[in-house]
Symmetry: C2
Subunit: 281 residues, 2 copies
């Protein structure tokens, strides 16, 4: 099967690697508008060819849209226009789903599109960040699949089976709410932590000397790409604002307890937070 | 040399392991008030004997205080009383230093005490969490060493050399300010993140399914022990409140930018946060 991948960054590139390595993709046709990324993707071998959108869609059986969600919202209708009336299937892999399902709604090729979100990644980006095995054992969320044809869903399932992912089905609005809590807020808390520390610790040597493993792990996501995260936060606007508000309330509860030297209340908050142990290994 | 370790948890236990394994400690005498921990420490082999405080000090050349900082502040004067007039040296390894230097100030045995903070740890606690090599390559901060005798400082340096740590010297008030930024706030942000997610995601299966590596890494410190962290946050009160306030301001800057769909401002904030790359590998 020929696979078209639009956007050969961390996610698109990693999908291309494993789909070929595991025998699913005979040929990978990449679309990559950034010249440097396109050259790197060819050099690394993420794609057999870099072609334009029309040529990619024409030559591919399945097209994976793996660009930042803001750009994906703009591109999806054109891709659906191109596949309409064919047997081709279109997937996207963006982290926000309701906006994509909305823009596809009512399109004559809607049934050929499956909205998916493979929950994996690293804080790095670009073709250089692509790696084999990135998705192994992780969850992939399929949204609003009643809008997709059974045939398209089966092909998407096959692809994520090759990528060793567990498929979870969810409504796109529920998806966007849940990921705000378990993914988007983690990124915002890391960015805010980085800003707080960089603001104060003008002398970088101090941070470097003093930062323990705990700090590095908590701030790691602050290295994440603005190209990816600006549109996610903007597109998942309402959910993200709600979770920020809850988060600020929790911080204020700590502040109040510490301000009052209320060790019993600080303990309650910490022990309540400790319950995350039950969930995260 | 005989080493007394008061508190055989993650830090005290790990010190005991490496000081013995690397030939510095002939004998480790442990003080551990919690019966279960004392039995575990003996069984694991962290100490040769569990004894009471007086017996420990009497038989040890150097005494390492490795209990939560609130308890250490109360205990330090008694330990200094016991070592006064001898050649014995006392170290503590707590994460807040000014309160300890203050309680030791003017004591007749002050010069025998060295305030140290080995910056290493994990989110686990108790004797079971102790491990070899925990401190290798990390930084250890010595505070207010002009108050310690050169001989006591040399012995402390020797110990941290055996533990493979880089020693950094700092005033205790500067230490407490810096660790609030690079360590204490990381813990509070993790606890607040855990509380936020637990509050919302009543259905733990969802968190478990959806939580990606990013969430796990950001929330990891929320597993940290209340016994250790309640006294740290209470003792480093002023610095911690200041850093929480800065942090809440940064979160609000994100909130304002997202609320206004101001993608340019969101990008500025993220790219500013990305600068942490220069510091954290």
């Amino acid at each position: 099967m020929n696979v078209g991948v639009i956007g050969l960054g961390l996610i698109g590139g990693s999908i291309a690697i494993d789909l070929r390595k595991r025998g699913f993709a005979e040929k990978v046709l990449g679309v990559e508008n950034e010249k440097l990324n396109a050259e790197a993707a060819l050099k690394i071998g993420l794609a057999d060819e870099i072609v334009d959108l029309e040529a990619c869609v024409a030559a591919s059986d399945v097209i994976v849209i793996a660009i930042p969600v803001g750009a994906a919202v703009k591109l999806l209708p054109s891709v659906l226009d191109l596949v309409a009336g064919t047997e081709k299937v279109v997937l996207d892999v963006c982290s926000v789903k309701e906006c994509l399902c909305q823009v596809a709604a009512g399109h004559k090729a809607r049934a050929q599109y499956v909205a998916t979100h493979p929950m994996a990644g690293t804080e790095y980006s670009g073709p250089w960040a692509a790696m084999p095995g990135l998705f192994d054992g992780r969850a992939c969320i399929f949204c609003d699949i009643e809008e997709s044809s059974p045939k398209a869903v089966r092909l998407a399932e096959k692809i994520y089976d090759v990528l060793n992912m567990r498929v979870i089905r969810m409504r796109s609005d529920a998806h966007d709410m849940h990921v705000a809590y378990v993914s988007h807020i983690s990124h915002i808390t890391s960015f805010a932590l980085a800003l707080t520390v960089l603001d104060k610790e003008k002398d970088e040597k101090h941070i470097f000397d003093l930062a323990s493993g705990g700090f590095s792990s908590t701030v790691r996501l602050a290295k994440s790409s603005a190209d990816m995260w600006v549109p996610i936060l903007a597109q998942n606007h309402d959910n993200v604002l709600r979770v920020i508000d809850t988060y600020i309330d929790k911080m204020k509860e700590f502040r109040t307890a510490i301000d009052a030297y209320d060790e019993e209340r600080i303990r309650e908050l910490i022990e309540e937070g400790n319950k995350i142990k039950r969930i995260i290994r």
